[in-house]
């Protein structure tokens, strides 16, 4: 990994997976890219073997996306790292203050040491754009409203980093997760099915079709099965300020906890 000499300010809005969410509880953390990079080295050395390169290997925990068993605050993370956690299944790791600050920054910024600063705007304006001009609700559902054909975004702020949300809006082809790819299927009976893939194995595929029906199909019964690499929406035409507002809104969607 190259050492960055330029000091990029990485502004990360920290919203923790704890109970209720409100704007007042949000606190702005500023981590420098140097600190984050230190954290990435610490992570690789001490954490990655069990937590995995993307932080998701331990069941119920997704470090990059802020899902923890118990840790709520930075102080909780600090304690878990220094003292161990989960009845000894996570060993204590003795780190210097600098390494500790780094690893916490790395976790809080969603494992994006090279990430450019993501502008985060106004939640309320973002909601207006999401439901209006941005036409997001034509496909996406939030808190029980909207279609189910595209992924439900009610908890998207808890499971995506700001950088990933930004990419989804301005360059969707570089953000669409493989599992979510649109599929077009023709069965032996001549039925044509379009939908979004939910799961797949060697012999079967599960999807939600255009009529929001859950379908499970046996591949040997299909005449054709196409997986599209193209996202179903174009890069947004919203301005960069508007994109920042939509990201703020999406980050505020934390699900019903």
């Amino acid at each position: 990994m190259k050492t960055k000499t330029r000091l990029t300010l990485f502004v990360m809005t920290v919203v923790l997976a704890a109970g209720t969410y409100s704007l007042a509880q949000m606190s702005d953390h500023i981590y420098t890219s140097q600190v984050i990079e230190t954290g990435s080295r610490v992570y690789v050395r001490h954490c990655a073997l069990c937590h995995g390169p993307d932080g998701s290997w331990v069941e119920g925990i997704d470090l990059a996306r802020g899902r923890f068993h118990l840790a709520v605050s930075d102080e909780d993370l600090r304690r878990a790292i220094l003292s161990g956690a989960a009845d000894g299944r996570m060993p204590a790791v003795n780190l210097s203050e600098a390494d500790l600050a780094g690893i916490i920054a790395y976790i809080r910024t969603g494992f994006e040491p090279e990430g450019s600063a993501v502008a985060i705007g106004n939640v309320l304006r973002g909601r207006g754009l999401f439901e209006g001009k941005g036409e997001c609700t034509a496909c996406h559902r939030v808190n029980g409203r909207g279609p189910r054909t595209a992924p439900d975004l009610s908890d998207i702020g808890a499971i995506r980093t700001p950088g990933a949300l930004q990419r989804s809006l301005i360059a969707p082809a570089s953000a669409l997760l493989p599992i979510n790819r649109a599929v077009t299927i023709v069965t032996r009976d001549g039925e044509k099915i379009t939908g979004r893939r939910l799961n797949e194995d060697t012999y079967t595929v599960q999807l939600i079709d255009a009529e929001e029906r859950l379908r499970s199909l046996v591949k040997s019964n299909l005449v054709s099965y196409e997986i599209s690499a193209t996202p179903t929406h174009e890069p947004t035409s919203l301005s960069s300020d508007e994109v920042a507002d939509v990201i703020a809104y999406l980050l505020a969607l934390r699900g019903q906890l």
Partner: protein
């Protein structure tokens, strides 16, 4: 059916003659001649995982039905391989239990519970892979670095010896192997800066008979492939059961990665005998020959695959061969008398090396920082046991295709008992932040998809190093192989299907969805004239036989 009747008779004679039919060395030596049993981890000293049983055939395999399930009450990948002796199954289960099970009903006779020390460190899960049986004893390694001997009848502890220091993160995850009057094991800890070895104990007393360090000490040949004190904590673990050639009196062992794993620059030299196969005299442990697959490895390409011993013609002459699909992505044929390199061909995409020279030494082509390396960290294949069928003359194993990782090397100081990795890796994904393949599968939805890698069961022609056919899966597979004299090939995969294929052409004949990842190889055995096939899927061991 005549063969079946003979087996029946044999079983009856054995059970009526003696209270317990001793499993002496002679019986293990001729394990292939009593296919109703499964007497070693890999079904016999040549480790072919080929059974002469043929009650289950290509024609009737679709009549298999579930006979019983045994549930492990402790969750996590269950990689154990059972041994079956005259209707009784001996196996390990999480966390470190040994048990005796009725192979017909799945009911448990006894459990010996070993609770590993609190400071036990095993890098990649509490995987004890099974036992060895010799005489009236069962032998098992422990995750906290001991070898234990149990009474085969009542499961009581007879002796326990320390194989390695748990405080320095030594562990025993492999199934021991019994050779003559000795029990032989290797040690795990390649991610913790151990100095690996293979060690033999007297089967009766537990007294150490010999010990071979997989990193030569000062003054020994090969020591100069290390610099400074790197050899003292250079890894080279041995965590998969080896093989034995009685005519040559040689045991063969695959040796794991050098440490720290991902910073090859920190330990200049070839780092013998990491990532090698070593041939050790069965009586003395003396090194007869070695062959190193990946010198100065920076990719964690452990060579802890099972050495598969095959006697067949090589270029028109009878030969004693060793077949080896390596984690580094190359398939090898070696002369197992001398260790001479005979053939090496990549079986998946390989870009860490541009090929092998005439001696089998790879020509390194390290990738620039941040660029993907094929095969990825889990390898083109790994520890899961292959199979060789003398009927088809094909070598079967699970490969990972289209799987690459990006390595990062970091200078790291060795701290006794601590992780010693020297960097890390990330899996190449189609978009930033996409889910990746883990060391095991713990989720029923495949979010990562085949875009980050998928399984390909390969049927390899040993003469050419080319796959005659492949059977692909959507997810990757850590499942081993089983072949039978009726040309059936049984294997699993992370999706939880147990498959029966035609070993000749790869045609799918039967499958059943068991729901949990299959991370070991199926075994087969026969009791009272009924052939069974057993496999562990998730937390359950499932046993099948033909419908009554």
């Amino acid at each position: 059916m005549r063969v079946v009747a003979l087996f029946c008779l044999a079983a009856i004679v054995l059970s009526s003659d003696r209270v317990i039919a001793e499993v002496d060395f002679e019986r293990i030596l001729h394990a292939a001649e009593e296919p109703h049993n499964w007497l070693t981890y890999n079904g016999g000293y040549s480790s072919q995982r080929y059974s002469k049983l043929k009650q289950i055939t290509r024609r009737n395999v679709d009549k298999l039905e579930l006979k019983w399930i045994l549930q492990n009450q402790v969750f996590g990948a269950w990689q154990s391989n059972p041994i079956i002796v005259d209707g009784i199954m001996y196996l390990t289960e999480r966390p470190n239990d040994v048990m005796a099970v009725d192979a017909v009903t799945g009911r448990v006779f006894w459990i010996y519970r070993h609770t590993p020390a609190a400071n036990t460190q095993v890098c990649c899960g509490a995987n004890n892979r099974g036992v060895a049986v010799l005489g009236d004893k069962v032998y098992s390694g422990t995750l906290d670095g001991s070898l234990i001997a149990l009474d085969r009848i009542n499961g009581k502890l007879l002796w326990s010896v320390e194989v390695g220091d748990v405080n320095l993160a030594y562990s025993v995850t492999m199934a021991p192997i019994a050779v003559k009057d000795k029990i032989i094991v290797g040690v795990g800890g390649g991610e913790y800066g151990i100095r690996g070895y293979v060690v033999a104990y007297d089967a009766a007393s537990g007294e150490q008979a010999w010990k071979f360090y997989t990193i030569p000490g000062p003054g020994e040949p090969g020591h100069d492939t290390w610099q400074g004190d790197d050899w003292e904590h250079g890894g080279a673990p041995v965590w998969i059961t080896g093989s034995f050639d009685p005519a040559l009196n040689l045991t063969y062992w695959g040796v794991g990665n050098p440490g720290p794993d991902w910073n090859a620059g920190q330990r200049p030299g070839d780092n013998l005998y990491s990532d090698s196969v070593v041939a050790l005299d069965a009586d003395s442990g003396e090194l007869k020959w070695h062959f190193q697959f990946t010198p100065n490895d920076g990719y964690d390409y452990d060579s802890v695959q099972v050495p598969v011993l095959v006697d067949r013609d090589w270029q028109g002459k009878p030969a004693k061969l060793m077949l080896w699909a390596n984690r580094n992505g190359y398939f090898y044929v070696l002369d197992r008398v001398t260790g001479k390199f005979l053939l090496g061909k990549p079986f998946v995409k390989v870009n860490w090396s541009s090929g092998l020279d005439e001696n089998g030494r790879p020509i390194p082509t390290p990738q620039p920082d941040g660029m993907p390396t094929w095969p990825g960290n889990q390898g083109g294949t790994n520890w899961y046991p292959p199979s060789y069928s003398p009927r088809t003359d094909l070598f079967y194993f699970s490969a990972w295709e289209d799987y690459a990782t990006i390595y990062q090397a970091i200078e790291q100081e060795y701290v006794p008992g601590g992780l010693f990795l020297g960097g890390g890796f990330s899996v190449k994904v189609p978009v930033h932040g996409a889910p990746t393949i883990g060391i095991g599968r713990t989720w029923p939805i495949n979010y990562w998809t085949d875009e980050v890698g998928h399984a390909s069961l390969m049927a390899m022609d040993p003469d050419t190093g080319q796959a005659v056919w492949k059977y692909e899966q959507f997810d990757v597979s850590d499942s081993g192989m089983l072949t039978t004299a009726s040309d059936l090939l049984f294997t699993g995969g992370r999706e939880g299907y147990l498959h029966a294929l035609d070993a000749r052409n790869g045609k799918l004949l039967w499958k059943v969805a068991l729901g949990g990842q299959i991370v070991m190889a199926p075994v087969t055995y026969m009791v009272a004239g009924v052939q069974f096939v057993t496999v562990i899927s998730g937390n359950a061991m499932a046993t099948f036989a033909l419908q009554d």
